[in-house]
Symmetry: C2
DNA sequence: CCTCAATTGATAGACATCTAACAGTTAGAC
DNA sequence: GTCTAACTGTTAGATGTCTATCAATTGAGG
């Protein structure tokens, strides 16, 4: 009666596979996971600073800077300094950025539906609770629930 | 009554946080996640080829080659060609490799215990079942249960 | 034998991510 | 008013991962 792999390993490997499948879904529509998360956060609106934005999508500042640079080059967004506080960069989506968001959202929503269909309501509640336990002492959070 | 983030996102972010904490634990003992997984697989024995080994730890061939190169440079293992089939590399741990394994195992075991303590027996069974659902159609497996 | 397909790893180049260190900007202390 | 500390973002360099492609070796047909 073995228990199998450590629960942490199982969690990480499961997440890796799911993340990969999600990447494929987005790639088929010309996007990627980080680009999708940034577009989503920007459409949700209201992020004061890049640091806020980075926290919302779960990466560090330099990683965000990296992706914003690429997305700016690709014409998905613009950055300009706030006149009244020239430290902060104001990030705004372009029309092309919004179009890309809508295209990728199709994939993301279909992916989410696929996953949701695998669990009953009750199971989903249980799963969210159990996943929450991992953060009990390790600080798992990435900003508000959206 | 919102449901919160998509379950896939929650899974991936939880795993990221756990993986990070595990990395820290190993780093404190001079290791890293991939090095630990390779040492563990080699101590468990019996991997015919590097491809087997890669599958066992959940990475692709080139990633494994990369780490084996580093570990060989660090004196943790040796590689030599099988005389009767000079395509396959025989990977063997050195004494230093085995010593590193034992050192890292302390951290890994303590980490696993910390996680295990957060769930009852029944919850653990439930969690493993629910995590298994993610692979239902997406092919999550990484070789046998060990 | 010789060629050609299959097997096994390695190399090249790309991407996402991190930490540490830096640079510009602002605001408060004196 | 100037100096200094805090804030915001960027740059530099490292690590882990991937796909696509290459190189060496083997074995099977003809």
């Amino acid at each position: 009666m073995r228990e199998g792999k450590p629960i942490g390993l199982l969690l990480v490997q499961t997440a890796k596979a799911v993340s990969r499948a999600f990447e494929d879904e987005l790639a088929a529509r010309g996007g990627s996971r980080p680009v999708w998360l940034i577009l989503l956060a920007l459409m949700d609106g209201a992020h004061r600073t890049q640091a806020d934005l980075a926290a919302a999508i779960g990466v560090r500042g330099p990683t965000l800077t990296h992706h914003l640079g690429g997305m700016e080059r690709d014409g998905l967004l613009t950055r300009k300094r706030l006149p009244e506080n020239r430290r902060v960069q104001v990030v705004a989506l372009t029309a092309k950025g919004r179009a890309t968001f809508h295209k990728l959202r199709q994939g993301a929503m279909s992916f989410d539906r696929d996953l949701d269909r695998r669990f009953t309501r009750a199971e989903m509640v249980t799963l969210r609770d159990l996943l929450g336990r991992f953060g009990a002492s390790a600080t798992v959070g990435f900003g508000p629930d959206s």
